[in-house]
Symmetry: none
Subunit: 222 residues, 2 copies
DNA sequence: CCCTATTTTATATGATTTGTCAAGGAATCG
DNA sequence: CGATTCCTTGACAAATCATATAAAATAGGG
C-alpha cells in the first residue's frame, strides 16, 4: 500500500522538490500552501506523515501541529530555515516527531520519513490488511470487506479463505486443507471442504479467485 | 512518576556520565555493562527508554535491539562512536527510535530522551481517560462513567472491558480473554467469559459496542 | 464468623453454523 | 463419443454455539 504524505510549505519550489524526491521513493504526496489548508487536509485524510514548514501564511506550523494533535497522532516532521526554531519545538512540547533545518539533503529527508512511518506503524499497532481486487481482509479483526462493504464470513469460511490466500499461487490438496482447518485428527468427509469452498466462492462473487485443480484441490490466484 | 532509563554501555566512565546527567534531570537510571545483561534487564523491567551502545561485549547493540523488539516496544536510542553505524541502523530496520554519535552534549542527550519518552507515551496511548460515545473509562481510578454518571463495574467486568477496548477493532478469541483476565494457568469454564460479557453489555446499554464473532470470540468496535 | 457482593457453574432455549447426502454437471480418458 | 470420475449445488438434519436465567460457590468486609 502506497504511503501518503502531506507537504505543508508555502515556497512552491521547495514543496515540489520534496514531492519529487518522495515520489521517486514510492510515496504519494499532497501539497498545501497555507497552514489552514494544511490542517484541514490533515484532519480530513489519513496521511502517514506530514512535513510541516514553520513559517507559513495564515497559521504557522506550531499552531497547525498543536491543533492537529488534539485529534490525531499522525507523525509530523518540522522543517525550518532557522535553527532557533528547533529549541522552540522542543520547548513547546508539541508532540513533533522530528525536525530538520533547511537546506537538507534529499536522502536525509527520505530516510527520516521512512524511519518515522515505520516507527509509527510499529507503535500504533496498525492492522494487517490483505488486499486483492475489491476485497480486503483484516486479519486482526477477522473481517472481510468487498468493495468497502463487510461480507459476513463464518469462522470456518474465514479460516479456509485465509489459508488459501496466504498460500496464494500454490495448489493446496483438499486433504491438506482439511488437516489445516479442521485439525490433524479430525474425522469427516473431504466433501466438507468442497462445500465450504463453494460457500466462499458465493460470497466473493465476481472477486472469486479460487480455482479448482482437478483431482487435487484448490488454488488461489492473484 | 519518575521515569526509568536503562543505560547499556561497557565504558563505565561514559555510563556514569550519562547517568549523572539524567538523574540531575529527574530520571532514574540502571546500568548494564554487557549486551546480554542489558537485554535481560530490559525484558524483565518496564523501562521508559533504553540508551544502547552499539559496540558491546557479549551481544552487540543491534542484536539486543532486535531481540528486544520481538517482545517490547520500549523506545531505544542508539549511541555510537562511529558515524558509519548510523547508516547501518537505518538499513537494518531495527525499530530504533533515534541515534546519537559520541561525543554528544549532555543537554542534547537529555532533550532527546525527554522527547522520545513523551512521544512514546502519546502514541502508546497510556491515556488515563478513554472515551467512546457517552462512555469514559478512568484507568487510574478503574471507574466507568456513562453519560457522566458512574456505572458500577466489578473487578472482572472492568478488566474484561478494558482489555477489549485496548484491543479495539480486533477480534479476541474467548480463550485469549480467559488467559489474559483470569491468568495463564487458571482453570475453569470458558462460559464464565460469556456471562461476564453479557453483564458488561447490560451495563453499557445503548453504548454497548461489543460484537459477537461467532465461533471465535468478541470484538469491540469504535 | 456471618452477611453480602461477586464470581463461577449449570441448565434451558433459540439461533447459526456445519456436515452429509443426492442429483446434476463438467472434465478426463480411452 | 460414451463411460467414468470428480466437482458443484442445493436442501436438510445434526452439531455447535450464544444468550438468558437461576442456583451454587467463593471472596471480602465488618
Amino acid at each position: 500500500m502506497m504511503k501518503k504524505i502531506l507537504i505543508v510549505e508555502d515556497d512552491t519550489a521547495i514543496a515540489e522538490l520534496e514531492r519529487d524526491y518522495l515520489e521517486l521513493n514510492g510515496f504519494e504526496c499532497s501539497i498545501a500552501e497555507r497552514g489552514t489548508k494544511g490542517l484541514e487536509a490533515a484532519l480530513e485524510n489519513d496521511y502517514d506523515l506530514i512535513l510541516l514548514d514553520i513559517m507559513l501564511p495564515g497559521m504557522d506550523g506550531f499552531e497547525v501541529c498543536s491543533k492537529l494533535r488534539e485529534k490525531k497522532q499522525t507523525p509530523v516532521i518540522f522543517l525550518s530555515a532557522k535553527s532557533d526554531d528547533i529549541d522552540k519545538i522542543r520547548g513547546l512540547g508539541l508532540g513533533a516527531d522530528d525536525y530538520m533545518t533547511k537546506p537538507f539533503s534529499p536522502n536525509e529527508l527520505v530516510a527520516r520519513v521512512k524511519a518515522h512511518i515505520s516507527r509509527y506503524e510499529r507503535l500504533s499497532g496498525q492492522d494487517e490488511i490483505i488486499n486483492f481486487g475489491k476485497v480486503s481482509i483484516n486479519t486482526d479483526a477477522r473481517r472481510v470487506f468487498i468493495d468497502g462493504k463487510e461480507a459476513p464470513f463464518t469462522a470456518k469460511e474465514y479460516d479456509l479463505l485465509l489459508y488459501l490466500v496466504k498460500n496464494k499461487g500454490k495448489t493446496v490438496p483438499k486433504e491438506v486443507l482439511f488437516d489445516k482447518i479442521w485439525g490433524f485428527e479430525a474425522i469427516g468427509d473431504i466433501s466438507t471442504v468442497t462445500v465450504h469452498i463453494q460457500r466462499i466462492r458465493d460470497k466473493l462473487g465476481d472477486e472469486n479467485r479460487i480455482q479448482t485443480v482437478w483431482g487435487v484441490g484448490y488454488r488461489f490466484t492473484m
